[in-house]
């Protein structure tokens, strides 16, 4: 089934990143339910985005501790 001409690949991207208007979300979800091609495109995008999540990094706990201490020091100065 061809993609609804009103729905573009850019709409899928906005949907994935939660930037699509509420009215368009409803329309897109409906289209995803029945449009196999669109669903395939959506799944491919989601899978690629998931791969990006492999690269999350965390700061060293010592760094967090130093920042927290500075936040508390500043707080003590404030009150």
């Amino acid at each position: 089934m061809p993609m609804d001409p009103k729905i573009t690949k850019e709409h899928l991207l906005l949907f994935i990143y939660n930037e699509l208007k509420a009215s368009e979300v409803k329309e897109l979800k409906h289209e995803l339910k029945y449009n196999t091609d669109l669903r395939l495109e959506y799944n491919e995008l989601v899978n690629t985005v998931k791969d990006l999540d492999l690269l999350w990094e965390s700061p060293n706990p010592t760094t967090l501790k130093i920042i927290d201490e500075k936040a508390h020091d500043g707080f003590s100065e404030m009150v």
Binding site: L13, E19, L54, E57, G74
Partner: protein, 194 residues
């Protein structure tokens, strides 16, 4: 349920200003990985990233304490912008050579330091993580810029458009091409590894 987990960023900042010292820790824990990953992608040096991360949050603390914070629940993007600017300052001062430019011609991502063997040794990643990271660095610069700012820095496409001077539809298009290219090279890599 921990009440802090459902509070918005603006509420946590207000609690911090009202004397709840733990509120800032909650706020920092909520955003630490997003901010740190963005910095790390920009400078590609873990130790430098730790320094910039620390400087960025201390700057944010001082700003909040001075009563200048007014971004309601937009703390994440605000924090990312502080971190991005701090990273650019560090890049300038260390004369690293970025290859991506913003609307003012300022270079942002991808540096000579990326090839630094020491930095590579400092990172412990799985093979796939290394593949994905290298694929991202192989993307055309404009696509890489949007991908990092959208996915890791959590800036909206509208905010990225304002930051880079590009049209919002152009930014969305670049993100789409970035993901498509990423998928293409990864598919190719899987074929080669068979």
């Amino acid at each position: 349920m921990n009440q802090k987990e459902v509070l918005g960023d603006g509420d946590l900042i207000q609690q911090y200003l009202n004397g709840n010292e733990a509120a800032f820790e909650t706020l920092m824990k909520r955003h630490k990985d997003r901010v740190f990953t963005t910095i790390f992608f920009m400078v590609n040096d873990r130790y430098l990233a730790e320094d910039i991360f620390q400087e960025s949050f201390v700057k944010a603390i001082r700003f909040i304490q001075a009563g200048k914070y007014s971004h309601e629940n937009k703390f994440g993007p605000w924090m990312s912008r502080i971190a991005k600017n701090k990273a650019i300052d560090a890049i300038r001062s260390r004369k690293l050579r970025p290859t991506v430019t913003d609307s003012e011609g300022t270079s942002i991502f991808d540096f000579i330091g990326y090839e630094d063997a020491k930095a590579e040794k400092d990172m412990i990643h799985s093979e796939k993580v290394n593949y994905v990271r290298s694929f991202i660095h192989q993307l055309p610069e404009k696509q890489k810029e949007v991908l990092i700012l959208r996915h890791y820095a959590d800036l909206s496409f509208k905010e990225i458009a304002a930051m880079t001077g590009a049209n919002i539809n152009t930014c969305i298009g670049r993100m789409h091409y970035a993901l498509a290219n990423l998928k293409k090279v990864m598919d190719k890599n899987i074929m080669y590894s068979k």
